[in-house]
């Protein structure tokens, strides 16, 4: 089957780094196959618990090894390490996300979102009042749409327990 992937530009930087990392992961997973799966006597091959994990890990191993072999450049270059450093910088956003996830059950979905959105907007370099207020409005709208309107399952925060009766129920249900 032909597709338009020919027209896509595939960058060379970082390809070897990813291929080597994925190959190491595949080797490790393949070496753990016998430890992490069982083989039950009397059962046929396709009913064995080990069969499909083996298809997966050995497929990963074989395809990744061949991919590595067919790479246009099989030697590490300075640009690969530069690309690796860009991958690491993304960890900052991961930490922002996990901090948000950690704080919501403690302080509450609405209060955390109303602080998190403008803070992240500031971190991104936006300094105008318009953008900061826009982030607050968007944060509030997301919470109201999902929690109050669609009633998605996000539990009330630990902090809400200290609120007086009627307000507490309102906060737990809608904010």
């Amino acid at each position: 089957m032909s597709d338009l992937s020919d027209t896509h530009h595939i960058p060379k930087r970082g390809q070897i780094l990813f291929a080597v990392f994925f190959l190491i992961a595949s080797v490790l997973l393949a070496s753990l196959l016998w430890d992490q799966t069982v083989w039950k006597k009397g059962k046929d091959l396709f009913s064995q618990a080990r069969f499909w994990p083996a298809v997966g890990v050995f497929g990963m191993l074989g395809f990744t090894a061949l991919h590595l072999w067919h790479l246009p450049r099989r030697r590490f270059d300075r640009v690969d390490w530069q690309e690796g450093r860009i991958w690491l910088t993304v960890l900052e956003w991961v930490l922002w996300f996990l901090a948000y996830v950690w704080l919501v059950p403690l302080i509450g979905y609405m209060p955390v979102t109303l602080v998190f959105a403008p803070l992240l907007t500031l971190r991104l370099g936006y300094r105008s009042r318009k953008m900061i207020w826009l982030s607050v409005v968007i944060g509030a709208a997301i919470v109201l749409f999902f929690k109050a309107f669609l009633q998605v399952k996000i539990p009330g925060a630990a902090l809400y327990e200290y609120l007086p009766g009627g307000i507490r129920t309102f906060f737990i249900l809608y904010l």
Binding site: Q36, F46, V90, F97, Y100, Y126, S135
Partner: protein
Amino acid sequence: MDLITEFFAQMHASGSYLARWDVVAALLAGSIGGVLIGAIPGVGPAVAIAILLPATFSMDPIVGLTVLLGIYGSSMYGGSIPAILINTPGTAVNALTTYDGFPMTTRGEARRALSLAYSSSFFGGVFSVLCLIFLAPVLAAVAPMFGSREIFLAALLGIILVVTAHRKQTLIAGAMACFGIWLSTIGLHPATYSKRYTFDQGWLSSGVNLIVVVLGLFALSQAFILLQGEDEKVRLTRLKGSFFQGFRELARHPRVASVSASFGVLMGMIPGVGEFTAQFMSYTYAQKTSKRPEDFGHGSSEGLIASETANNAVPSAAMIPLLALGIPGEALTAMMLSVFYVHNVTPGPQLFQNDMDFVVALYLALLILNVLVVAFLLVATNQLIKVVNIPNRFLGMSILILSFVGVFSLRNSFTDCILAAAFGVLGFVLKRLSLPVVPIILGMVLGGIMEVKLRSAMARVKTPLDFIDRPIAAVLFAIIMLVLILHARRVWLDYKQQREKSRSTSRASTRFEAHLSRRNRSLISERGKTVRSRRKTYSRPSGDKS
């Protein structure tokens, strides 16, 4: 004839599914939301569907699926707007629209291009739904012939096609599909009750949730990409006048439109193929049969019709393998499969036999959706194009907040969020390297299906030939072999072409030193040595004394 009469009676019965306020609201929300999402470059239907998926679990299946289908079907309409106006496709499948749409904008025909894109998309969408409606009785008759081994072979074909469709990236696509298969095996094995790759961690016993992986690979990774990138300055063209002229222009190209829509339907029905192949085939066809092939890529109306008609015909057709066999052909339908599972509705032959009203209601919803979207676009395009101005990094922040709802509302688990973040990083790396992400999702979904179906199929198989002794199984097996042979042939041709290119001196330097250096390299290579020894043998003086 009886089948068709019976089917129209069923259409009447299905009307009751749609005549509900929540379904109507879902249709409106899905269609308008989908257009908006498509019009914002950097979001796309996959991100939106991944985020909204857990929210739809509390809805009725028809309501939840209508919202998701609405987003899927209408996002491509919206995606054509930035593709035409600013040369940036709103969704990945609108990439080909930029070839002819943007040149039309640069010569002051933006309104004509948009109008043509809307009318072509509408034609593709409606053509596809009508094909489905008339195919439904046939599908209902054929679907029960699919037993375990046929579904296994169809899923295997889907995986093979999704891997081989990634031309020049087949090996890494295969590795990603196998990674997906491995992910699907984590947890408790239902047949032997033994743990697989749980590393004695309780949270891994129930396996890796597909939605967590989807949210990580599509939504979080996209947020990271946008947060990491730069904002772009966008200059928009002012649009004046009516958008109806496109329908008149489309009517002048009935052949291109109908052939492109047929390619869309055909490619949508085959698991693992989808929009890119459909567009490629219809664009190539339109160019080869056009009276002005030189216009393609420089603002050809036929090129625009071909690409937009083909991609909009795919979503409805992609529902065929999902509904009839329970096999998703691509990432978006794989996500929709989880909506069925949550509501204990098993898509497959039984759905066609027992709940045909539901299936037809979905088709009708798709039909109404296309009408709603076009009506919305004809009146609201001037306002809608302003969403293109949203800064990328600000958009990334919004997607990060939205991703939280998707992951956390699933099971209120912090571990799920960590796992989603890890997949987000993986998705970020894959997107930066332009490596395929979709095979992971399809490997995960189809891997699970293949495991169950192969186990139950093998219980009734004594010799390997028994596996393909039924007509549909034999046909599927033949198709698998054909796809593999064609792929092997293409790999060989690519290899030959590359080898010839490396030996060719047509683009080499003409400097004397470079020529000497090439000659020297040729002489010391293995092939050079063989050629020289052969020439030496032939030019050896004869030993005859006569």
